[in-house]
């Protein structure tokens, strides 16, 4: 099959298993440049498995392409340089390190001078002013919402082309979750490609241009968001 150069991310027949458990059946999906794609699915659907396979954290069969380049054989750490950054489930912060150090490490792959890194840091502070007030605090000493802001801010320090997020609103007060998801919305308006995984988040639907429904390890539906009128409509796909 010819490489797909119109998409930012192309996933073909990606499948993964843990021992005998087939957590992800062959799954295909794609995301265009600057597109906001949301993957919805209940707990245990295989969402995290899918994202971990895309980012090469777990072995899988199938193919992952980024900007038409086959990255299936790449190591996880080689993806950041291409512009793919993932905010892991549970945030994956360096919890004993300060907010500032977390952000500095986020810029590990950011090309350019110190001035470029400082400019990137300013951008993140504009999006999440609270991080600036907490610079010297350790990551673990912050509230859940602030930690999630740090996780997103740290990912943005690498100036990604595609930002992948695994349930960023999990465990957060609705107001904080809304704040973070809205920020993702504005980043997307500036051209950042977003692949967002959530269990249920009306806002994640509203922001997305396209939605995949994942259930029991397979994609059950792919819909433009305007076809989903209400959250109740989703239920039929979950159990289809």
């Amino acid at each position: 099959m010819a490489a797909d150069t119109t998409n930012l991310l192309t996933v073909r027949d990606l499948a993964a298993h843990y021992g005998h458990i087939e957590a992800l059946r062959p799954t295909s999906l794609n995301g265009g440049p600057g597109e906001f794609v949301t993957i919805l699915g209940p707990n245990g659907a295989g969402k995290t498995t899918l994202l971990r396979a895309i980012t090469r954290l777990i072995p899988s069969s199938g193919k992952v392409e980024f900007k038409g380049q086959d990255v299936t054989k790449f190591k996880t750490n080689e993806l950041a340089g291409l512009g793919i950054i993932m905010v892991m489930e549970g945030r994956g912060l360096f919890s004993d390190m300060s907010v500032k150090e977390n952000l500095q490490i986020g810029a590990y792959k950011l090309p350019g001078s110190q001035a470029d890194k400082d400019r990137q840091l300013d951008k993140v502070f504009t999006l999440f002013p609270r991080l600036k007030e907490r610079l010297t605090q350790t990551a673990s000493s912050m509230s859940g919402g602030e930690q999630q802001m740090l996780a997103v801010g740290r990912a943005l320090m690498a100036d990604p082309k595609l930002l992948i997020l695994d349930e960023p609103s999990l465990g957060l007060a609705p107001r904080v979750a809304t704040e973070i998801l809205s920020t993702l919305g504005s980043l997307n308006k500036e051209g950042l490609g977003i692949l967002l995984v959530e269990q249920k988040a009306p806002l994640a639907l509203k922001l997305a241009q396209r939605v995949y429904i994942l259930s029991s390890g397979s994609v059950r539906a792919e819909l433009p968001t305007h076809e989903i009128k209400s959250h109740h409509d989703l239920a039929k796909y979950y159990f289809a």
Partner: protein
């Protein structure tokens, strides 16, 4: 009851040997923090440092400082080879940590055998870096070599602290320690970081061995006792920052040498191992777990 002079003299000795344990402890912590691996071949780097420095010194007649630098680089290279040929293949296959740790033990035995075959089994030593001494403070004698140990120890701990806190590579190493997957997702090459950790750790062990050889001796079998004491020091220091490792070493060194004064030389290991058990039981994060965390 031992006299004040005896106690003070053994304090001096204890600080000296404790600094050496501390450097070895830092070596343990660097690898452990970057990977979760306890490298039981750590003591072998100490032995190789002294052996290589001695060989270079006697065979090529180079000055001690140059021999020391070359020996340190060579031992760091051995550390890199160990990582590439022994650790990494297992690491890539996601081998259980205990299998990797056992492999490091095999490395220790293997290197010891190679040393016996190539350099022989005879103990060897070389003069202190600065001749003369000891410095006499009344009845207390301080060997000049102790000042070298103190000075080099202080410089190394300062340099390492700067490295871990202020350089991208040092921060990346700490990031791998805290969350390997998150580090990889941000573009940090975790396997290459592990090579850096082994090189650093082997180099530190070598420096410890090079510094201690003039006041004792080196031979193929000194790896084990230094490895064990460095490991205990690392546990006391909580596998934390370089400062914590060094303090853990000094704490162990002083305890040991005071124990010798009170109970006799035979008690040295009993005391260290008792200290280990006490720390493990009451301070599982190390005596300095609190500040060690800040790295």
């Amino acid at each position: 009851m031992p006299s004040i002079v005896e106690l003070t003299q053994s304090l001096v000795t204890g600080v000296g040997i404790g600094l050496i344990y501390g450097l070895i402890a830092i070596g343990f912590s660097v690898i452990y923090n970057a990977s979760g691996i306890v490298n039981f071949a750590q003591g072998v780097f100490v032995m190789l440092g002294g052996m290589f420095a001695h060989s270079i010194l006697t065979r090529y007649g180079l000055p001690i400082w140059l021999s020391a630098i070359i020996a340190t680089i060579l031992v760091a290279a051995v550390g890199v080879l160990v990582q590439i040929f022994v650790i990494n293949p297992r690491w890539r296959r996601n081998a259980p940590l205990f299998a990797i740790i056992l492999a490091t033990l095999a490395v220790q035995l293997l290197i010891e055998q190679i040393v016996i075959l190539t350099l022989g089994d005879q103990p060897r030593t070389y003069p202190e870096f600065t001749s003369g001494g000891p410095l006499k403070l009344g009845p207390i004698a301080i060997p000049y070599q102790l000042f070298w140990v103190l000075g080099v120890g202080a410089i190394l701990v300062f340099a390492l602290t700067q490295f871990f806190n202020r350089t991208p590579m040092g921060r990346a190493l700490r990031a791998c320690a805290q969350n390997r997957e998150a580090a990889a997702l941000l573009g940090i090459p975790v396997e290459r970081m592990l090579i850096v950790a082994f090189a650093l750790s082997a180099g530190l062990g070598a420096i410890a061995g090079i510094l201690i050889t003039p006041t004792q001796y080196t031979a193929y079998l000194i790896g084990t006792p230094f490895g064990i004491n460095g490991f205990i020091a690392a546990i006391i220091g909580g596998f934390g920052s370089p400062v914590a490792g060094l303090v853990g070493g000094i704490f162990l060194g002083i305890t040991q040498s005071e124990a010798i004064v009170f109970f006799g030389a035979g008690f040295r290991n009993i005391i260290s191992l008792s200290l280990l058990l006490i720390v493990l039981m009451f301070f599982p994060k190390g005596l300095f777990g609190g500040f060690a965390k800040k790295a």
